[in-house]
């Protein structure tokens, strides 16, 4: 079983649209949405949920005003400036600033502080017309997206083994922080989706630097390559310099959005389009590796 993670550095380069297109071509694959923060793959794959799990998020502390003796020890110890005085001059915790370290709870001399764990994150195993999809929904403003990514990937790999699938395909998050690190670590191969803009180039440079620390075989696809041919050439030069094979270049095509509106992958929308044919070729190359 081979695990492939689709990443971009910059957001909005077409990761999810490309993943959806690959989903409609790839046989015997399990799909996994690693962008737990703003998951979109399910909008195209239209899943029927089979399993639902709660993912326990971080802790949030609060002060019981009746027990609080106003000693201020918690305020002195909180490194996140999460404890302030409210309009009644009483100590209060701002849940959005609380990091969930629970130190205040431990040091309060009168046990006036307690914490509750967020149960706002869920993850799912679903059936789709292309196979199994493992995906998640984070509550707004939640922490620990990296841990949730590890959780959904673990389940996707188990399911791939159980069903003898040949691939796990991860639709990755943007950026290079904790969520991207979690979707990279231990994966078999990376497909980068790059757009020919100076931001796209800048961001993929940083992503490549991160991938290099993991030594994962990496391949690239330039999406909307005709938006700026010169920048596109610069990206090709960068890929050459890094010995990252370029598997294909897809043109800008408004039908990509039309397909999305119809909840279809571009290949389902019209498999005779140039863009559909290029993605088929890219998948063929990935399969043969």
């Amino acid at each position: 079983m081979k695990e492939i993670t689709i990443l971009s550095g910059k957001g909005g380069t077409g990761k999810t649209s490309i993943t959806a297109a690959i989903a409609s071509i790839a046989k015997d694959a399990v799909f996994c949405d690693n962008d737990v923060d703003a998951a979109d793959l399910h909008l195209i794959l239209n899943p029927t949920i089979k399993e639902e799990h709660v993912f326990a998020g971080g802790w949030t502390a609060s002060i019981d005003d009746n027990s609080c003796i106003d000693c201020g020890i918690c305020t002195d110890h909180c490194r996140f400036d999460a404890i302030h005085r409210n309009d009644n001059n009483r100590l209060e915790i701002n849940p959005f600033k609380c990091e969930g370290c629970r130190l205040c709870e431990r040091i309060c001399p009168v046990q006036a502080i307690s914490s509750v764990r967020s149960m706002n994150n869920s993850w799912f195993v679903s059936d789709t017309r292309f196979g199994i999809l493992v995906h998640a929904k984070m509550g707004p403003g939640e922490e620990n997206s990296g841990k949730l990514v590890s959780e959904v990937r673990k389940r996707a790999r188990e399911l791939a083994k159980e069903t003898n699938a040949s691939y796990v395909i991860n639709d990755g998050p943007p950026g290079i922080g904790c969520a991207a690190i979690s979707s990279l670590s231990g994966t078999g191969m990376v497909l980068m989706v790059i757009e020919p803009t100076i931001s796209g180039l800048h961001d993929s440079r940083r992503l490549v630097e991160l991938i290099e620390t993991f030594s994962i075989p990496t391949y690239a696809l330039i999406n909307k390559y005709d938006i700026h041919p010169r920048v596109s050439e610069e990206i090709e030069m960068f890929l050459k310099e890094k010995s990252i094979p370029l598997l294909g270049k897809t043109p800008f095509d408004r039908r990509m959005v039309e397909a999305m509106v119809e909840k279809k992958s571009i290949v389902e929308f019209d498999d005779t389009l140039e863009i559909s044919n290029i993605i088929k070729e890219v998948w063929k190359s990935l399969e043969s590796l």
């Binding site: 910059k10 957001g11 909005g12 380069t13 999810t16 923060d37 703003a38 979109d40 909008l43 971080g58 802790w59 110890h77 490194r79 996140f80 959005f96 600033k97 990091e99 370290c101 629970r102 130190l103 431990r106 040091i107 984070m138 707004p140 403003g141 939640e142 922490e143 997206s145 990296g146 998050p173 943007p174 950026g175 290079i176 922080g177 904790c178 969520a179 991207a180 690190i181 757009e195 020919p196 803009t197 100076i198 931001s199 796209g200 800048h202 961001d203 940083r206 630097e209 991160l210 620390t213 938006i227 700026h228 010169r230 920048v231 800008f252 408004r254 959005v257 999305m260 509106v261 909840k263």
Partner: protein
């Protein structure tokens, strides 16, 4: 006190950077206001790419305090392990092993309070850099840049925000994509949040998540539709159903996309673009005063 505006989106690639950079430009140029742009997308900071003549004013290394366990003093009692909510400490008594995994540490200080043997001390470790640039007579750009491999983006955003200049008229925070803790940190102190979306199913879905977040936080916000003319009408329908303020619409143009691609966003902006941003800025100022 400056008027603080955050630019966020949920989905990546909807045009946050484009909007932030343009607002920055027009606030200073057309309205002659002292303006600071703070790039809080520390995983992939792109704002600076659009300014050719920037002059570096100051540079600081951003750090986090990482605990270090002194093996001579440690009794391997594991109290620090039980205090650490982030599973960042590994202590194995039979083999006298005690170590902190810095990539999981949130620098909350709980382990220092836990240790009764004075075996834990802290030292700073780099998580990124913060640079302040002079762009023009009235324009300052501050940028946080996460060290490759660090998962501490939220902590870095917090430190970048400390570079907010209270002597400015306007401060613009450019947020990272998503809806989790880094976005909360970026927008928390803003007087107003601009949500940039695109009229597509992905744009709408992620916009809804972000609206939910901002409502939870009790923030004031409005929506700017970028790439108008592509996709469908569902974002418009959603905004009118929810009675969310629409700040404006910027039509999709391949020519403009190409200017973004090469980084020439601000050179000779078209009259239409200029009018759009002036109108948006007037609406924003009306909110503030």
């Amino acid at each position: 006190m400056p008027f603080k505006i955050a630019v966020a989106s949920g989905k990546g690639g909807t045009g946050k950077t484009t909007v932030a950079v343009n607002l920055f430009h027009f606030f200073a140029k057309t309205f002659a206001l002292k303006t600071q742009l703070i790039d809080c997308d520390v995983e992939e900071p792109n704002d600076l790419l659009f300014f050719q003549n920037s002059q570096l004013d100051s540079e600081t290394t951003a750090t986090q305090l990482i605990p270090f366990i002194d093996n001579d003093k440690c009794t391997y009692c594991r109290k620090c392990v039980s205090y650490c909510e982030f599973n960042a400490i590994v202590v194995i008594p039979p083999v006298n092993f005690a170590e902190v995994n810095s990539s999981l540490c949130h620098s909350c200080g709980a382990c220092l309070v836990a240790c009764e043997f004075d075996a834990i001390s802290e030292s700073p470790e780099e998580i990124g850099t913060i640079k302040n640039y002079r762009i023009g007579p009235k324009e300052i750009l501050s940028e946080g840049r996460l060290k490759i491999g660090s998962a501490m983006q939220t902590m870095l955003i917090k430190q970048v925000k400390q570079h907010t200049r209270e002597d400015m008229d306007v401060v613009i925070f450019d947020a990272p994509p998503g809806t989790s803790c880094p976005v909360v940190e970026t927008v928390a102190e803003a007087d107003y949040v601009i949500l940039v979306t695109e009229p597509t199913p992905f744009g709408l879905y992620d916009l809804q998540l972000t609206v939910e977040l901002l409502k939870d936080m009790g923030m004031r916000f409005g929506v700017l539709i970028n790439k108008a003319g592509t996709g469908d009408h569902k974002v418009h329908d959603y905004l009118s159903e929810q009675k969310i303020e629409m700040l404006g619409e910027i039509p999709y143009s391949k020519e403009y996309a190409s200017k973004y691609a090469s980084g020439e966003l601000l050179s000779h902006p078209s009259i239409e673009i200029e009018i759009q941003y002036k109108t948006i800025i007037r609406k924003l100022m009306a909110r503030y005063t």
